[in-house]
Each structure stands twice: as C-alpha cells, then as structure tokens.
Symmetry: C2
Subunit: 301 residues, 2 copies
C-alpha cells in the first residue's frame, strides 16, 4: 500500500503549499482522493500515469478539495483518454462538471460516471475481488465524507511440500488457496490449515478530512493500518477549530487512540503555523505513532 | 503600461507551462486578463497585490482560460477582501461561479459584479476618466471576445513660464490642462496651444485569444501600441489551426501588419514544439517587430 501526498494544506494553494489531494495505490488500484486546484500539475510532477486513475473520491465541495477536478477531467479528454472514469462525491459534483463542459462545448470521449452521495450513514460504494471502499460520514460545515479503503482477505499460501505429501490433485489447488478443505487422491478429507498458511495481511487506509472531532467514526475505522485525520489547528486554536468545524492535532490523536489504528497521519494544516512539527509533537502527547503528511511525500505502508 | 505574463500556453497546465493569464497595468488600473487553473499561485509568485485587481476579463469559457477563476474568487473571500470585483465574460460565467459558491455554502463578503457578454459586435464595456475597454469579437469554437484597452488623451502639459507671461489666473490652469482656450487677467483670449504642450501619448493594448485568422478585427485594433495575438500553431500545422479555430504565427503577423500595430506579442503556444523561437522566426517573415510571451516575463511598453 503506497500513498503519495500531492497536497496537504488547507484553504488556498500557495507558492509552496498545495491543497488536498492524495494518490492511494492498493491492490492494483490507483485511487485519487480529493482534487484541489493544481492537482493535475502535481500528478505530472510525480510522474503518475493519468490513465491508471479510474476512480476519484471527493470528500466535499469546498474549493480546496475539488477545484482541480474539472481541469483534470478536461485534460484527460485532451489526452484522448478512453478508459472509464468514476467520480464519487456529494450531490452537486455532477452538475458543476457538466455545466462547465456544456459551456465549453467540450464533452469527454470516455465514460464519465458519477456516483453522487447523500447518505448520512457509512455505505459500501465500491467493491471488487480485492478491495472495498466505504464512506465515513464526517462532521464539517457542509456534507462531507471520509473514505475507508480495505483490502479483502487474500488467498492462503500453499505449502507445496505438504500439499504433495498429502497427495492432493493439482485441480484442487485453487480451492485450497481460497481456504476450502479438499478430498485427496485417496478419498481422504484434508483440512485446509494443515497444508496452507495465511496469505499477506490485508491492508486498510482511512481518509478523514475535513471534520471536527467525531467519535462516531471510531467503529468504522477501528484497527485500520493507517488513519489520515485532518489537524487544521493546534489546541491553542481549539476555538477556531470548533467555529470552523475542523479538528486539532490532539483531537486527531484521540480518535487514533480510540480506534486503535496503526499509524496516524496528520494533514490539512492551516498555514498560520511556522512549522508543521508542532502538530506531531501535540499529537504524540496522546498517541505514539504519528506521521506528518507533506506535499510530495510518499509513504509505503 | 506594464504587462506581466502569468501563463501563455494552450490546452493544459503542466509542470513548467501555465495556461493563459496576464496582468495589465495601465493608468493606475491592474486588469487581470483570463484566468487559467493555477493563476492565483502565479499571482503570488509575482507578488502581485490581490487587492489591486478590481476587474477580471475572461475571453471565453474553455478551461485553459478560466478554470482558475472560481479559486481566485474564493481565495479573495478567505483573505477577507472588501473591495468590489468586476468580472467580464461570456454568458454562463456567473452561473458557474455562483453554483460552486452555493454548493460550498461560501458567499463572498465583497461585491462580486458580473458583466455578461453576448454581443457579436465590439462594445465599450468599461470607461473612466483615464481608460476605455472595448470587446474585440473573435472567431473560435465557442463565443469568444478579445479586449482592447485604451488610455484616453491625457491632460496637456502647461509651460509655466508662458502661462505666467500670458497673465492667466491660476483658477484657469485646469481648463488649460483639459485643452480649452481661456481669457487672461486683461480680458484677452489665450489660445491653448500657445501656452501648453501635448501630454504623454496614450497607450493601447489589444488582447486577441483564442481566434482563427479574422480580418474583421483590424479596424478595431488599428494602430494599437501592442497586439497580443494567439499563435497556437506554425504554418506547417495550418490544417490543425483551421480545424480547431486557432491561428498560426504567420497569420498573427498578417493581422499585425494590416492593423499597423507597434509590437506583435505572440502566445498561446501548443506544447508540441520544442522551442518557441520558431514562432518568432515565422512571424518575422511578415512583420518585423515581434516579441514572444513567456510565463513570468514582464514587458514595459
């Protein structure tokens, strides 16, 4: 599981600070999460192949999370993309994009499929053989979802010596990998766990931005390997966090602790602070495994 | 008259190429012309004071000319702007911006005044004591206007020795500057040109992008000091220019020559060419005074 931070600052793009966008590579997917202005240039800078992005998840319709979307869609068209593109986001995202295409008389030559969200409960919005994506309803000034990306249990790993000793026909190997018990050449039932080992542990990533402190999300994100939780402010500006429905670094850490996550990744920093290290220090008072997102940083989890 | 090129490439923003946007400083105004994605960051890079921009002129609603507009408007709000902002552009620009403000529940705390255009004839759209702005109807795939910025004749310059010799009361100095004849203290009519000299020559700038070759614009832009004319292609790709309703460098030069302009400034280059110098070389075969716009370049005319 690889995460590339394209932008992790709040409010407005600046000379050295990009607004929210991330690329998550998980189980052969390349998911784009949020798309602030300038995201397409950040994708180019990081040499991310545009065509590998087939799903874009937009948390909410504040500009710092989606003003780059229409430009990216338009650039995909100019690059003569043919691959389907799925957009997940709040009701309204389709209207904004199609209005601009209509005014420009520029329709995409690929399928653009909108999945508009309006539920206040966590929903399964994408699933294939390898991965699931669920919404995480957040509490911000406008309708907002985080997203939970979960690999499914992978195939079990066959111990080929034990399988041969057990005299199992090759036709049953796939069943074994899927965890089933099988009958061997001698008509004897072979218990799966006697000839296989568990596959790689499935990974999970929860993206939670923008939101104020919201304990209701804990059961949804429980035990995830990595939690990205916004930390727009420090505790000394808790009054601003509350007023603008954002979280502090300490609040993010409290959620991480309650949900027993592996790593807490902070981001969506206000640019009022001289250094982002103070966010890490504050969060570490509550939860020990804290990382800072930074524009251009790549995490291999 | 000072022109800052924030972006001058066509189609899509890239790591090193920005899409169209320019800042024209003329007669104490700071006019922003077009606003491709990333314009607000370019403004910051060039340390242009956001508050000095009171008028934005959008040529047409293709993304490379206006996808940065809503982000800039939104950033003005976050910076607690109070100054009125006037937006000139095709019908539809207001709907795009207000839809996105509605979805974000983010209304501006300053007056945002839209002047939507739909005429096919050149119109006077802005005027004050010092400057006029006219539209230049262009021929592109969708409704498009260029803009002509013209300083008015400035005040005449008084020769203070001659004025004193002529025994003219100080109360008449303003009338003299405005070009009127006046009566002196002895009741004698003093002809204006005997005691004043012409003021500074008024400057003019015509912005023409995007458009195919269109001779109809010549009478509108006749004798301007500086003509920016798009040159997306070279003559060897004239078939593409014709198909996409763009112009070649040579066609831009033909317009410059027919209109007897001072300087031709090329831009809106396709990124298919390795170097932009070829645009200058091609244009110079027709018209001698050619300049190349480049991202970040500043011209003092």
């Amino acid at each position: 599981m690889k995460l590339t931070i394209l932008g992790c600052y709040s409010a407005t793009p600046r000379t050295l600070n990009n607004t929210t966008s991330q690329v998550l590579e998980i189980s052969n997917h390349m998911f784009l999460i949020d798309c602030g202005e300038g995201t397409q240039v950040q994708l180019r800078k990081h040499k991310i192949k545009f065509n590998r992005i087939k799903h874009i998840f937009i948390s909410h319709l504040h500009g710092d999370h989606f003003f780059g979307l229409v430009g990216l869609i338009s650039t995909f068209r100019l690059l003569t993309r043919e691959t389907d593109l799925h957009i997940y986001g709040p009701v309204g995202v389709k209207e904004v994009v199609t209005l601009q295409m209509k005014l420009a008389d520029s329709w995409t030559n690929y399928n653009l499929i909108f999945h508009e969200l309006d539920s206040k409960n966590s929903e399964l919005i994408f699933e294939d053989d390898e991965v699931e994506v669920h919404t995480i309803p957040l509490n911000h000034r406008i309708y907002t979802n985080g997203y939970l990306f979960k690999e499914k249990e992978g195939n079990r790993k066959l111990d080929i010596n034990l399988v041969e000793e057990a005299n199992i026909n090759v036709a049953y190997f796939r069943k074994l990998a899927q965890g089933f018990d099988v009958i061997n050449e001698d008509g004897v039932l072979i218990k799966n766990e006697t000839v296989t080992k568990p596959g790689a542990k499935p990974k999970s990533y929860a993206f939670c931005s923008d939101t104020m402190y919201k304990e209701d999300i804990v059961p949804i994100i429980n035990n995830v390997d990595v939690l990205y939780h916004e930390s727009t402010f420090l505790e000394k500006h808790a009054h601003l966090a509350s007023k603008t429905k954002h979280a502090t670094a300490k609040e993010a850490a409290r959620i991480a602790k309650k949900a027993n996550v592996g790593v807490l990744l902070l981001g969506h920093y206000s640019t009022r602070y001289d250094s982002i290290n103070v966010f890490k220090e504050e969060a570490e008072e509550v939860f020990e495994n804290v990382e800072l997102s930074e524009d251009g940083k790549i995490f291999d989890f």
